[in-house]
Amino acid sequence: MNELGFPIISLVTFFPIFGALVLMFIDKEAKDTLRGTAMVFAMIEFFISLPIIFAFQSGTADMQFVERYTWVKSAGLSYYIGLDGISLWIFMLTTFLTPICVLCSWTYIQKRVKEFMICLLLLETAMLGALVSLDLILFYIFWELMLIPMYFLIGVWGGDNRIYAAVKFFIYTAAGSVFMLLSIFFLYYLNHKMTGVYTFDLLELYKLNIPVATQFWLCLAFFVSFAIKVPMFPLHTWLPDAHVQAPTAGSVILAGVLLKMGTYGFMRFAIPLFPYASNQFTPVIATLAVVGIIYGALVALIQPDMKKLVAYSSVSHLGYVMLGIFAFNMQGVEGGLYQMLNHGVSTGALFLIVGMLYERRHTRMIKDFGGIAKVMPVFATFFMIMTLSSIAVPGTNGFVGEFMILVGAFRSLPMHAVFATSGAILGALYMLWMYQRVMFQPLDNEKNKVLKDLNVREIVTLLPLAILVFVMGFFPGYFINKMNASCEHFLKTYDQQVAMYKQQVEDSSQAKLAQVMSANQLKSTLSD
């Protein structure tokens, strides 16, 4: 079976569904029971996922805790799941963030608590499933399944413009992914043509030698699908709408995990499947990433709405992640992976913070606030920590990730790195400026004078994230150590494959050249 002799990943992945089923049988008026039950399930889920970290072997790039069963034999589908260093931490981040989402919705969500908690738990299953799937169709199913609960979270519990945001979110993402589906079918067909086997097994398909021209189109379909999810400039327009309209828990999940699905998709699927096309696309992607970094930061700078500001900062941060991955060296890739986690922690926390203010004042406009630090000192401390983490001050987690990405980028894409660095400065500018306008300045709004500081529940919600900011800032080695082998393997195979494809392209062009030459020779001899 696997290392633990026990289907641990399946258990962790499907446990939330069990929780959702239990919730269905609780009276919908018993709101505190519902919240409590959801919390208990989310916590149990987190604790049963912890052994995975300790049992994880950091020395190998192989898939671990693998489970594999035939699903539809005749179509080559299998239930094939496993974790490696690339997915491990995002997987853990998901189980870590879900209890926090339940906690932060405790009073924020007052109507239809039952349905809300059920959606949250179903979403958790879908996300975990997408992270562990090693069968392309299984992955696609979880990938699409993520949309349904998120669609409901935005559409039912969102702000005033929620319907527009929810439908836009769903259609945007689904439109991107159907082409990925076709591309998957094509891979399936190519694999059969070359090896005679019908399979959607990702690790088998990695080995496939795809003709360069075909590879371009297949890769494009995957890229568009993942780029929408990331989101990369210019496909990011759904994100601010979705974030602003979503309830706090929705935003936290969206920023913390759903967006990572895009960047994770690049590392797990798009790049290893289509190394040569990825290599050719690198200048485009890296440029778009840098444009995203600067554009996201500039737009964030002028936002009057705090939540929108944080949403645009996501565009900027994920630009870094993409730049890191497409630097294709150890520092860049590991930095990108690390930055995914950082962004989940710090941006997730920032959304929580904005949500807490919104719960008190029912506004998110920066101009409505000012001098809050005087009335809410504890809150101000947390907000400061998260702001510093977001702008990557040394000692916080953000610094490690951003630093590694920039080092990696300087090695392979120096010009891009120069511009990306300016994004770091802009990041400091918009975050600190927001902090200044909200927390300092004279406390002149009467409504703000009576604001209560954080209660115990809210502190408990933020504290784990704040601790994580420093733990990840001071001891990045522990986390990166577990990624090392997989990232090395990722880069090694990438380099090998690119070299192989380049050789192929060269050979074929030389063959063509030789053909043309011999034809010319023939012509000249004939004319003689």
């Binding site: 179509a75 699409e144 399944l145 559409g155 159907v178 079918f185």
Partner: protein, 487 residues
């Protein structure tokens, strides 16, 4: 000299259909003699009858024989179609028991009797081995459905629906029959298997104008029944006007039967001509799904919307037809079953949305329904997501089988248009969810609590959708086996 061969009486080969017909006759008789009170049990009687037919069918699995001088093919393909028909009929009967309480003036006796006769016809269309047999089965089915469509005698829309369907249907039958006649003239036989043999043996007969004309006319006739563009115009009016449970019945049963006959005639009878009809059907598939989806977007009546969506589904099914490999045809069968569950389910939910003869079919009636009636809302969501092809519902697996086969066979553009269409369709499918869950109710609607049978029908449909979506192996293998066993 003509010599008549009296075919052997083979009751085993037609046992399921026989049970359907006998039940129909019993229902008719009981209706005449029973008092008002006894008539409430007619539904239960019909249900039992179909259940027995289903059992007889399941027991006959694996039979592979032609009976009555090749008129009837009791083969795997017919088995699957009869399976779909029986399931559709059972679900419709279960849902109708709620409906007869909402629309009180429905004459239940004739209602169930006609439904059973229609099912009888549909099943024979799937099993017919002879063009005449197809025609007779088609008429048995159609005439029952024409009457059923007009069953709400106090509703002008229902009458209009019946009349429209009847007039246009009669035309279409004419086309079909004329097509058969021309093919008979060219091939000298009406037996589908013999036609196939004849055309294989005489390839030069294939492009004879009579064969070409025959095929063109048959395409019109079948195209009408499956609602293929441009023969789809009747669909929205008929689906909208017919009693809602009947809409579900004809949107799924008739479609399954017509596709079955289409597949058998074209792939068995005219297999060598495949290259010729592919181009026409390619365009037909593309236009059918695109027009269906685009027009569905602007509908304000949910039944009309589902009518256009059913046109779009015919388009997806035609993609399988164009591809034409064994696996593509298995995909069509799988899709037909998945579509049947979702569509009957959705229309059953709509039929449950009523009280005292008043039905709520405006999309705006559905505002806030999801939270007000959680069970109906949840069921409707499952059906809608299945139709939209979102995993893990069966609709996704259906599209998966058809489109993956299309890619495999090189119909890449058709697959691309297919998935673009799925995205377009998301817009109006999501619109229903938006109504049900995201909007607050803007008017007071009161509906009758769904009866136990209705709850059963919806639960069965939803369960099967998830079952087929998550564990598709069993039905998929059954579909593949069925297509392999076509005679």
């Amino acid at each position: 000299m003509l010599d008549f061969v009296v075919p052997a009486l083979n009751l085993k080969a037609i046992l399921p259909q026989l049970i359907l017909a006998l039940t129909a006759l019993t229902v008719l008789l009981v209706d005449v003699f029973a008092k008002e009170k006894g008539k409430t049990s007619l539904g239960a009687l019909s249900f039992t009858g179909v259940l027995f037919a289903l059992i007889a069918l399941v027991l006959s699995r694996g039979s592979h024989e032609s009976a009555y001088s090749g008129m009837l093919m009791a083969d795997g393909f017919g088995f699957f179609i009869t399976l779909i028909v029986c399931i559709v009929t059972i679900l419709t009967i279960l849902a109708s028991m709620n409906y007869e309480k909402i629309c009180k003036n429905i004459k239940v006796g004739e209602f169930y009797c006609l439904m059973l006769f229609a099912a009888f016809g549909m099943s024979f269309m799937g099993n017919a081995g002879n063009l005449i047999m197809i025609f007779v089965a088609l008429e048995t089915m159609s005439i029952s459905i024409y009457v059923l469509a007009g069953f709400k005698t106090d509703d002008a829309k229902s009458i209009e629906s019946a009349l429209k369907y009847f007039l246009l249907g009669a035309f279409a039958s004419g086309f079909l029959l004329f097509g058969f006649a021309l093919v008979y003239g060219a091939g000298g036989t009406l037996d589908i298997v013999k036609l196939g043999k004849f055309f294989t043996a005489n390839p030069d007969a294939l492009h004879h104008p009579m064969v070409m004309g025959g095929i063109a006319l048959m395409t019109v006739g079948f195209g009408f029944k499956i609602a293929m563009f441009p023969f789809h115009m009747w669909t929205p009016d008929v689906y909208e006007g017919a009693p809602t449970v009947v809409t579900g019945f004809m949107a799924t049963g008739v479609k399954a039967a017509a596709f079955a006959a289409l597949i058998r005639v074209f792939f068995v009878g005219f297999a060598p001509l495949q290259a010729d009809w592919t181009t026409i059907m390619w365009v037909g598939a593309f236009l059918t799904m695109t027009i269906g989806n685009l027009v569905a977007i602007v509908q304000t009546d949910i039944k009309r919307m589902l009518a256009y969506s059913s046109i779009a589904h015919a388009g997806y099914l035609l993609v399988g037809f164009v591809v034409g490999t064994d696996l593509a045809r298995s995909g069509m069968l799988f899709y037909l079953l998945a579509y049947a569950f979702a569509n009957i389910g959705a229309l059953a939910v709509i039929s449950a949305m009523g009280k005292d003869g008043k039905e709520y079919t405006e999309l705006s009636d559905y505002s806030g329904v999801g939270f007000k009636y959680p069970f109906l809302g949840l069921m409707m969501s499952v059906f809608i997501f299945s139709m939209a092809g979102i995993p893990p519902a069966a609709g996704f697996m259906g599209k998966f089988f058809i489109f993956s086969e299309a890619i495999k066979s090189g119909y890449i553009w058709l697959a691309v248009f297919g998935v673009i269409n799925s995205v377009i369709s998301l817009y109006y499918y999501l619109g229903v969810i938006v109504r049900m869950y995201f909007r607050e109710p803007d008017r007071e609607i009161s509906i009758m609590a769904p009866t136990g049978t209705m709850v059963a029908a919806l639960s069965i449909a939803a369960f099967c959708i998830l079952q087929m979506g998550i564990f598709p192996s069993y039905i998929w293998d059954l579909a593949r086996e069925s297509v392999k066993m076509i005679m």
